[in-house]
Amino acid sequence: MSAITGAGSARPGGLLERIAWHWRHDPKLELWLALAAMVLFYNLYGIVFFLVANAQPPPDPAWELPRVQQWFNDNHYGLPIGFGIIFIVTFLTAACNALIAYSMRRMSVSPAFAYAYFIIYSFSAIPGMLLTCIALVVGAMRPDRDPELILWLYDLAFMAFDGTMGVFLVGTTIWMVAILLDKNRVFPKWFAYLNLCNAMTEVVVAPAWLFTDGVFAWDGAITWWIDMIVFVVYTGCFITLLRQMILREDFGSGPLPELPAAQAATS
């Protein structure tokens, strides 16, 4: 965390003391808390979905019924425990969306962009993540359930995960347009183009509804693997850029100043 020029009291060393200092004195505390929420959420998301619940990379839609049942049985504890954690930390997404909405309020564009983005992403968590987790938890609950019903829950879960493509498509496009129009230099323009790539991956996921195997199925090379690569890069980028934005934040309304090191470099 950077020194706030003119903040006054010298900051003591030691991690706990520094945290206490920031809690008491840092004017950007709310922003840092939101960023911390974002980092925490995405890390937990990765750990739970990939490791604990074993739901990513997704299992094969082309599996036979017994194989699907076996997958649920293998993850009989991982699914409810992992997704229990996700159910709790879902609220961190509200802080993530709030921070990004705030970044758009800092731009020179209409506040409508920020509100639209915030509203869109606020309701995206339910069909896009929570419904998937609920369906998988219910699927894992009763190993003796009718296999056809287990398959239905399996389909519901993974299709719901892909099924919010329109939400993210429009949301990320809104952010892209806001960045391109922005005169306050809150984000670099290249990030707008990365938003376009992210929007593309939402378009590209559409064939998942049509296939149960091949590269266009929900676990396919195109609809999952490439999309996940883009998503990881995109998320890493915007977390870094938001961190830089917070460092540069001056609570004003004109162009956002550069970081001191960058200013020294360009002067």
């Binding site: 323009k189 290249w190 183009y193 990365l194 376009l196 790539c197 593309m200 991956t201 378009v203 590209v204 064939p207 049509l210 296939f211 091949g214 590269v215 266009f216 090379a221 195109i222 490439i226 690569i229 883009v230």
Partner: protein, 173 residues
């Protein structure tokens, strides 16, 4: 704008790579399916795209020289060729669908529709970009050369992607 070229280029490279891998895995299927495509559509579309790239390059050149009327005319020409491409592509798709060749027919045609469709979407975005360039050129108060060049770069990217798609889907046997 070069960031866009880089990102989109990498993304499409990944898609092309997946296409190549699938092609290597089932060469007969791909070859037989490719034979069902009429290469004349492809050639015509490629010529149209290349011409539109030429016209937008002339537009940028005129804009650099300050000849804004001429730049706008070249821009209109680019727009026109883009529309021609759209019409041709839709006609080609209609013909193929009437023949019974759809997205779910086989793996090759999944790729065919997929690649041409995402290119098509980029082209539609390109129309919006051309609109922004036109907006810039129209009024002396604006005329940011940087935006004009950026828009032209995007159009060249769309053209470049089409050439590769044409080579992969129509030509490479």
């Amino acid at each position: 704008m070069w960031a866009l070229v880089l990102f989109e280029g990498m993304l499409f490279t990944l898609y092309f790579a997946v296409y190549m891998v699938c092609r290597v895995q089932s060469p007969e299927l791909f070859l037989d399916s490719q034979a069902l495509l009429d290469p004349r559509w492809g050639v015509l579309n490629t010529l149209v795209m290349l011409t539109s790239s030429w016209s937008i390059a002339r537009c940028v050149q005129a804009s650099r020289e300050g000849a804004y009327e001429q730049a706008l005319r070249n821009l209109a020409l680019t727009f026109f060729f883009g529309l021609v491409f759209v019409v041709l592509k839709v006609a080609e798709w209609s013909a193929e669908i009437r023949q019974g060749l759809t997205f779910t027919t086989n793996e090759f045609f999944s790729f065919y529709y997929f690649l041409t469709a995402i290119h098509f979407i980029h082209l539609l975005v390109g129309f919006a970009v051309l609109g922004i360039v036109a907006y810039q050129l129209r009024s002396p108060a604006r005329r940011s050369q940087q935006i004009v060049e950026t828009g032209a770069t995007y159009w060249h990217l769309v053209d470049f992607l089409w050439v590769i798609i044409f080579a992969l889907l129509y030509v490479m046997r």
